[in-house]
């Protein structure tokens, strides 16, 4: 069938007849290549030829550093433990929500817990951990009278990361459990299985791939996490912090590049397994929707212990989050708590240029959010609705960005853009500007936005857009008048999510920010490291207020201008 080329050639011709579409695709591919692939590629180049000759000499050098090999071990160990703990706690929460009749209070607690990690900066839990359980911790020192408790190190990181990441597992597993057809479990009960037996022989096997999925997602998040190990890790270094120190402390850029390659390999491997093996399996075992509502467990002997346990965990998490705003009001951290004072806030805005920090963070995130949201919607549109060469590339690379830890990306940008592209001086002026910070924000938030855009677009019947196309609208018109209005909600939430992600980001940005920009997260990190927890808490509190405000604003917006409303009115 040699002539099958004609159809492809015609498709190409039709595409070329659409200049806006072609320009968009070309720009997208350029953007992704330049700002996702190239920085990673340059890391490889750097680590193989960084000291003049091609070879493994740099890898030999870093693997001979005891601090590095130890960091690998530490990172994997933490990732593993945090992955398992988060998955289990997440499963408990999901199971209780889907299977057990809950009171209003517990339901409310669950909702707050699922939303907190979205709106809060990554290191909030670390701060409150130190405040509650540290040497001068409110609980350890003043309630339990333990004077030498150390939260820094392995346990600190594990606890903080678990509490940070388990809500993600909870949300993932909740969706899976909801999709199990209750009649499967009822059939097993009917044949004489106890509730526990049903759980182990029906429910568990069905969601096993989902559990693996949740574990790997958390694992990747954990080993990519920079902020928490930085603040609460103490001398217990992970890969992310080691790489950071290798650059900022030892000024060993090729070494850091090689380390980043090692970290990237680990996350990519996990990501590959998760994406191409587990995700498919999950979809295969749980396809259909539940046929009808599930009979909730009313039995007190099951209900009470489970709800109490979950409520306790949830309350504890909420307490941890509340600690930070309260801590910002203490006159002297760890020594005197009353009377509450606003002096840290005063200091933030007078001596520590707080206003500039908020302005810089806010403006940069405010610029990058719409870019990210629009870009991710365009990518999802192209991936879901259109057919062209290079589509696979666009999809793969924008998803790849999800598996790249911020620290790795940061090192890649330093190596890739500090002397211009390939050290030729091309685009040299980019480095150190606001533009590159915005680009990092965009690249870091793109995968989440794209994923939600893709799932929103899959819900829309392909023929709706085809009909507009058929009526005489070109691709641009179709996108603007049909696609975008139909996924307005997803667009708005993508807008806010990327704003929140950007304003709370630290891992990549801390490596790239130059002194002319003051970013809140970087400030918090600095003050926390110096031990000025009052200031760190004050900064963090204002940050939480901003992000929370943004989310509230979004919900208000969706409620009033969302798609569902527009469809209801006459």
């Amino acid at each position: 069938m040699a002539q099958s080329k004609q159809g492809a050639a015609l498709d190409r011709k039709k595409l070329l007849a659409d200049p806006i579409m072609v320009t968009t695709i070309v720009l997208l591919i350029t953007f992704l290549t330049l700002f996702v692939l190239y920085p990673l590629a340059i890391l490889l180049v750097d680590s193989f030829v960084g000291d003049g000759s091609f070879g493994l000499s740099i890898f030999k050098r870093i693997f001979n550093m005891p601090s590095f090999t130890k960091a690998i071990g530490n990172t994997l160990k933490i990732g593993f433990v945090v992955g398992i703990a988060s998955t289990l706690i997440g499963l408990l929460f999901a199971y209780v929500e889907v299977y057990v009749r809950m009171g209003k209070l517990t339901g409310g607690l669950f909702k707050v817990v699922s939303m907190l990690p979205v709106v809060s900066p990554p290191f909030v839990l670390s701060l409150s951990m130190i405040m509650l359980f540290g040497k001068a911790g409110i609980i350890t020192r003043y309630l339990l009278h333990i004077y030498d408790n150390s939260v820094y190190g392995y346990w600190g990181i594990v606890i903080v990361q678990t509490l940070t990441f388990f809500p993600v597992c909870y949300m993932m597993l909740k969706g899976l459990l909801r999709n199990i057809d209750p009649s499967l479990e009822e059939a097993a009960r009917d044949m004489g299985a106890s509730r526990f037996k049903v759980f182990t022989s029906v429910t568990l096997p069905l969601i096993l791939p989902g559990l693996g999925n949740a574990f790997l997602v958390t694992f990747i998040e954990s080993i990519a996490d920079f902020a928490n190990p930085m603040i609460i890790g103490g001398s217990y270094d992970t890969l992310a912090t080691t790489i950071y120190l290798q650059i900022t402390g030892a000024y060993d850029k090729p070494g850091a590049a090689a380390m980043a390659v090692v970290l990237l390999c680990i996350t990519l491997m996990m990501f590959g397994v998760q994406k191409y093996y587990l995700e498919k399996k999950t979809a295969a075992t749980l396809t259909g929707k539940a046929s009808r509502a599930r009979m909730l467990i009313e039995d007190k002997s099951v209900r009470l212990p489970l709800t109490i346990l979950c409520s306790l965990v949830a309350s504890f998490v909420i307490l941890m989050y509340i600690c930070v705003p309260i801590g910002s009001l203490f006159p002297t951290w760890g020594y005197s708590f009353f009377p509450f004072t606003f002096k840290w806030y005063q200091l933030v805005f007078t001596r520590y240029k707080g206003f500039k920090a908020f302005k810089d963070s806010f403006v940069l995130s405010f610029i990058s959010a719409p870019i990210t949201a629009l870009l991710s919607m365009i990518i999802s549109y192209l991936v879901v609705k259109r057919n062209f060469k290079g589509k696979g590339f666009i999809e793969a690379v924008s998803m790849l960005a999800m598996a790249v830890p911020g620290t790795v990306l940061g090192v890649g940008y330093i190596r890739g853009f500090a002397g211009g592209v390939f050290h030729t001086g091309f685009l040299e002026e980019l480095y150190g500007t606001a533009a590159i910070l915005v680009i990092v924000f965009v690249v870091r938030s793109l995968p989440t936005g794209t994923r939600s855009g893709i799932s929103a677009l899959r819900q829309i019947d392909k023929s709706i857009e085809e009909s507009a196309y058929d009526m005489g609208a070109n691709s641009f018109k179709v996108f603007m008048t049909v696609t975008l209005p139909l996924i307005k909600d997803s667009f708005l939430s993508g807008l806010v999510t990327s704003f929140v992600r950007s304003i709370t980001a630290i891992s990549a940005i801390i490596l790239l920010v130059t002194p002319q920009f003051l970013l809140i997260t970087v400030q918090i990190n600095e003050f926390a490291e110096k031990g000025s927890y009052g200031l760190a808490c004050a900064f963090a509190t204002i940050l939480i207020l901003i992000t929370y405000g943004a989310v509230l604003l979004m919900n208000l917006f969706i409620k009033h201008f969302g798609t569902s409303k527009a469809l209801k009115e006459d």
Binding site: M1, Q3, S4, K5, Q6, G7, A8, L10, D11, K13, K14, A17, D18, D461, S463, I464, E466, S467, A468, Y469, D470, M471, G472, A473, N474, K477, T481, V482, P485, L486, T563, A566, L567, K568, E569, D570
Partner: protein, 335 residues
């Protein structure tokens, strides 16, 4: 504004798809040539997977043919994108824009063509009158019934005055009764406007009721093209005979024509005590307007429908009798 009517011509069109599982290529449409006359109503009819929808989508421009050329009137249109083709499609799922009301849905194509505001208003209200949806302009599409939504979809396609209207199984989402009403409507409007229409369906009664010409497709190939009568009474092969209406096949030897196959429609034969081919009744059921028989002629099963059974002799299962038909009422195929 009277428009010159245009026909559609397919010149040796093929479309090749890849089976995603086996990675093997196959012809979804194979070497198909059609000549659709201006102003006629033509139906592409066939079982699912026969290539009828692919053919329609190639005419609309959503798919590109791998071989051959498509002409609209005299103009080759292979290279035109759907928005540049003078065709308008009515989709199976209606595909109305859910964020627009009825008026905006219908006006969408006119706005894209930069038609002046006043003329848009005038044309939209005229076409809404044609599909009998006056006064519904400000309704959102999800407040309409399935039949009304389909009328909006039709109005939207008509209002831009395309050279060709394309229908992709537009009635399959409606209930049976509404389907019958709507197909009469579609035929009425098509004749009123005098537009060329190409209609895809797998429902033979729809095809019969609507079309000037029916094109029967199977496995990517056109089996026969002709008027409904032609196709019913003179099917070219067993597939067409069996697909349109019901058909019994008997070897020609029974009427002294060896090498031929007799196509006997269920209503063309009847049972009698003597005078035809000896047979045995294996099923006899009263269906109201007719008596349904299955009889065995030798090893061949023949299905019969005898209308007005009230005044006829009813044969029961196990009865031995004769199958009678006249040669003028059957069609002969080369076996």
């Amino acid at each position: 504004m009277e428009k010159v009517k245009k026909g559609v011509r397919l010149d040796h069109i093929s479309k090749i798809y890849k089976d995603p599982k086996t990675d093997k290529e196959f012809y979804a449409v194979k070497d198909t040539s059609l000549d659709i006359e201006p102003g006629s109503f033509v139906t592409l009819l066939g079982p699912s997977g026969c290539g009828k929808t692919t053919t329609l989508r190639m005419i609309a421009g959503f798919e590109s043919p791998d071989e051959g050329e498509i002409y609209l009137g005299d103009e080759p249109i292979n290279e035109l994108t759907p928005d540049k083709r003078d065709t308008a499609m009515v989709f199976q799922s209606y595909a109305l824009l859910p964020h627009y009301n009825v008026f905006d849905n219908v006006a969408y194509g006119l706005k894209l063509r930069k038609v002046p505001q006043a003329e848009i208003k005038e044309r939209v209200s005229r076409v809404l009158g044609l599909v009998e949806l006056e006064g519904m302009e400000s309704r959102m599409t999800n407040q309409l019934s399935g039949g009304q939504q389909q009328r909006v979809a039709l109005a939207r396609a008509l209002v831009i005055e395309p050279s060709v209207l394309l229908f992709d199984e537009p009635l399959s989402n409606l209930d049976a009764k509404l389907r019958v009403t709507m197909r009469t409507e579609i035929r009425r409007i098509q004749q009123e406007v005098g537009i060329t229409a190409i209609y895809v369906t797998h429902d033979q009664s729809e095809a019969m009721a609507l079309s000037d010409n029916i094109i029967i497709m199977s496995k990517g190939v056109v089996e026969q093209m002709g008027s409904p009568q032609e196709i019913y009474y003179h099917p070219k092969n067993e597939f067409v005979a069996d697909f349109i209406g019901e058909a019994n096949f008997l070897p020609g030897d029974y009427i002294g024509k060896p090498g031929k196959t007799i196509v006997l429609r269920p209503e063309s034969g009847y049972l009698a005590d003597e005078g035809g081919l000896p047979c045995k009744v294996v099923l006899s059921a009263f269906m109201g307007s007719y008596q349904n028989y299955h009889v065995m002629v030798g090893e061949h099963l023949v299905k019969l429908q005898e209308y007005n059974p009230k005044n006829k002799k009813i044969y029961n299962v196990g009865d031995e009798c004769c199958l009678v038909f006249e040669e003028a009422n059957v069609h002969l195929l080369e076996a």
